[in-house]
């Protein structure tokens, strides 16, 4: 279907100033909805660790204090959820993926793909190229405050140029892998890559 039919009686709410930042099919929200596949895990910072792996071997691991001692980055970005809300200008602080690589002595990703593993068994897959050059971070603060558990605290992946399910909550492990494999939502009907500007919401989009 090339041109969608006009819905009889549906009135435009086009706002020129904002649509430039709004991917197709998205609408603006000012609150911060919570969406997850299951219960919110309760994670104590004292028990928290994060690991970077190349296949089965360990590249690096950090306790909370060690992770907090890595270089910190703050960014303001628009985020886009596949359930169609977009939130503009959200402010996050954490460790840039580039800095994480540098801290284990790497200047570039050792493999082409990454699987993010989270508490609760959630996973999501990404091309390594989408995590480098300032495109991604592991966020520990939102709007200047520690990240709330419902929003993925203590630490979540943040890859704002892709639909927000790729910004995995409750991150515990990033694993480089040579071949792409689908993660949790990617095996349950959602798009493998998830570019909001190409509206890659579901399988086959």
């Amino acid at each position: 279907m090339d041109r969608p039919p006009v819905s009889r009686g549906f009135k435009s709410k086009r706002q020129a100033s904002e649509t430039a930042r709004l991917p197709p099919g998205q609408y603006l929200t000012t609150d911060f909805p919570v969406l997850s596949a299951g219960p919110t895990p309760e994670i104590r910072v004292a028990d928290w660790k994060i690991a970077l792996q190349l296949g089965g071997s360990l590249l690096g691991k950090w306790t909370w204090d060690e992770f907090e001692a890595l270089p910190q980055t703050t960014i303001a970005v628009d985020i886009h959820c596949v359930t169609k809300w977009t939130k503009l200008g959200t402010i996050w602080q954490g460790v840039g993926f580039d800095d994480l690589l540098r801290s284990v002595g790497l200047s570039e990703p050792p493999d082409a793909y990454v699987m993010a593993h989270c508490d609760g068994g959630y996973t999501t897959n990404l091309p390594a190229a989408d995590l480098i050059a300032g495109k991604a971070m592991i966020a520990t603060r939102y709007d200047g405050l520690p990240l709330a558990p419902a929003h993925g605290g203590p630490a979540r992946l943040l890859v704002p140029h892709l639909y927000f399910w790729k910004s995995a909550k409750w991150l515990r492990r990033l694993r480089f892998m040579p071949k792409d494999e689908p993660g949790f939502w990617e095996s349950r009907g959602y798009h493998n890559y998830g570019d909001p500007w190409r509206e890659q919401r579901y399988d086959g989009d």
Binding site: M1, S7, F10, S12, T29, D31, A37, A148, N192
Partner: protein
Amino acid sequence: MTATDTPLQYPRIEWQIGCVQAIMAETSRVKSIILRPAKWSGHWPGQHVDIRLTADDGYQAERSYSIASPPEEQLLTLTVERVEDGEVSSYLLDELRVGDALEFRGPIGRHFIWRQSLGGPICLVAGGTGITPLMAMLRHRKKSRAYTPASLIYSARSLAEIVYRDELDTMARDDIDLRLVYALTREYPGDWNGHRGRINEALLAENSFSREQNPTFFICGPAGFVEGISSMLVKFGFDSFAIKTERFGPSGA
């Protein structure tokens, strides 16, 4: 490296035009829209569709709606609640008429789904219009004559706000394997024998099967509601993987 497109396992879910066959008022804030798809290869209870509205200047709005009808039915039922300032819900509730064309695509999602082949028991917990995908599961359970032990704990503000109440009451009356419990949070009739107030641990424990029975949970409702129920279940010792959730609305945080 352009690793953006891996081989597709599934075909694209194409937009299509459905014809509005009927519109039914469910409560003062909720209507069901009955749609005849142009083509439909079936769905799983719990799946949703996306609806897309287009204005004459090309402006579009999209929203997701859960399917309330079971896969055994040819027509699709979507149940829509009014959202404050909701441009799509207000269009669907106030403007849409029988005979109109409605653009949609689906079915979507393979996480929050159940069908009788997956077995049970199943414990469904609904907050408000979170009942919709759970209703598709219950209707399918009935149509497929699956005697899977099931319970539905349904929290609503008042008796008048319970969607599908007559159908649920009839369903439960005829079925000893289905337990139906309402929790009324704001208003209840003077002679109300059911639960008053929000779903609490006691009500949930009493109606959620035992750990030995290994139930699967489907919880749908506002974010805070789902958060509360799922934390109670984790506290009871149920496996997180057996607790499937679907949250909607603002976080309230």
